[in-house]
Symmetry: D2
Subunit: 139 residues, 4 copies
């Protein structure tokens, strides 16, 4: 998918389906999160490293467009990118693809907070730079 340099794949779990026979709408937010964790795992110690450094990221907004139903055991490729890092805030965009077809897309907004006080705190500079570099890289 154009504009995305990172992707990770999930298989739809049986527990994620519902009585309509498709993946439940809430599962997509879990998959977005799985993609964010994998995305960050490329930078130093990933999200666990950020937690160890005293940070936590809260989700402040989520949007999903469900374009095609997704079924048990489908392999879904989640393209993700982190953009718009400003102060404590940042955003992720996602495109979900099955066999080359876009089946959903969406975005989430987040705020970096201090792990103890839960007060907003600046996005770590080194990570912003590494992400900017990764997103700017030629394929």
């Amino acid at each position: 998918v154009e504009g995305f340099r990172f992707s990770t794949e999930i298989a739809v779990r049986f527990a994620e389906t519902d009585a309509q026979g498709v993946a439940h709408n809430a599962a997509y937010l879990v998959w977005f999160e799985v993609a964010r964790i994998e995305y960050l795992a490329r930078f130093r110690a990933g999200y666990k490293g950020l937690q160890a450094d005293g940070y936590e990221a809260l989700t402040t907004d989520a949007h999903v467009r469900y374009l095609q139903p997704v079924f048990f055991d489908d392999r879904v490729l989640i393209h993700a990118r982190c953009i718009d890092i400003r102060g404590a805030r940042f955003r992720y965009e996602y495109v979900l693809e099955r066999d080359g077809e876009t089946v959903a897309d969406g975005s989430t907004r987040h705020a970096v907070v201090d792990r103890v006080t839960l007060k907003p705190t600046r996005f770590p500079g080194w990570l912003a730079e590494e992400i900017a570099r990764a997103e700017a890289s030629k394929d």
Copy 2:
């Protein structure tokens, strides 16, 4: 909350919390669904009645704004309304309130489909009328 005539209450389950100590962001989409089911339960046989009549409603879009974290065992009042019924499509809006404070809001879009073919089909006329009447009623 102004403009909403229906609400239902949930208690945040321990299973819905995450290691940040707050309700997980995906739980809100489950709560929205609980509110839709309760909303429809006021009209004839509710969602199960619609299924018995051969209908199913797919979720085509979901949006959540997380304004304040919500904790284990919090009582959250979910205000919901069904609006913009057009052809097969309709929309829900939600406001989540804890102790009089708005902690989240959001909306979902849906399409009525034939239960077997999953093809879009017109929103049942009788239900559109009953919802319009309920939403227009004075308190």
Copy 3:
């Protein structure tokens, strides 16, 4: 159900169903937990009160027998009792009933731990007494 003095009701959520059209097997453990929380809510400040006092209860064992499938929107009565309180350990038993028919039963084992160190600690004496009194009471 004989031998049970406490029960609470849940409605099966659509999100809890799976592509077999029935409630997913993992949902039962969430319902058991909902029942435990409601069970404890009768004593002082409930589970949140225990947390405030510095306790947490870990689940060390869970067993479920699925006797009849349970469907979307079914009302399920969860009978629960807390038994075998010994040192840091205690056990719950459950019977799930729909329209007077037993649809599942099970049990869970737990250990009281210090909330910070996660080390086992004695079950609070006042609560053991109140539970013993509640379980021994005539209806």
Copy 4:
């Protein structure tokens, strides 16, 4: 782990943790299911193939022993084996391992049913044979 010839790995999702900071007890049943699906994927078209052939497997019993807490992003190796195939019934056993330490174990019982009528039906002979062969194989 002795006696197990199959294993698959999961990473604990953030959504699977709870406010105790550990993986929620219900997540283990989802992981057991993930392991069963992977286990069967080695034989012809896996569980989806069984569904295509008109079968469905219901869970009739589940047991989990939680020995050590499991945390966000932990890699957990799930050892699984299918045993005791008799008529429509069969059983799975599981051992969960993190960094060489057993953190949980458990078992589930199942019944093969006709996908439409949900009536018990004999476990497919070819699959019973292939499983017996796989479980009997030298490493």
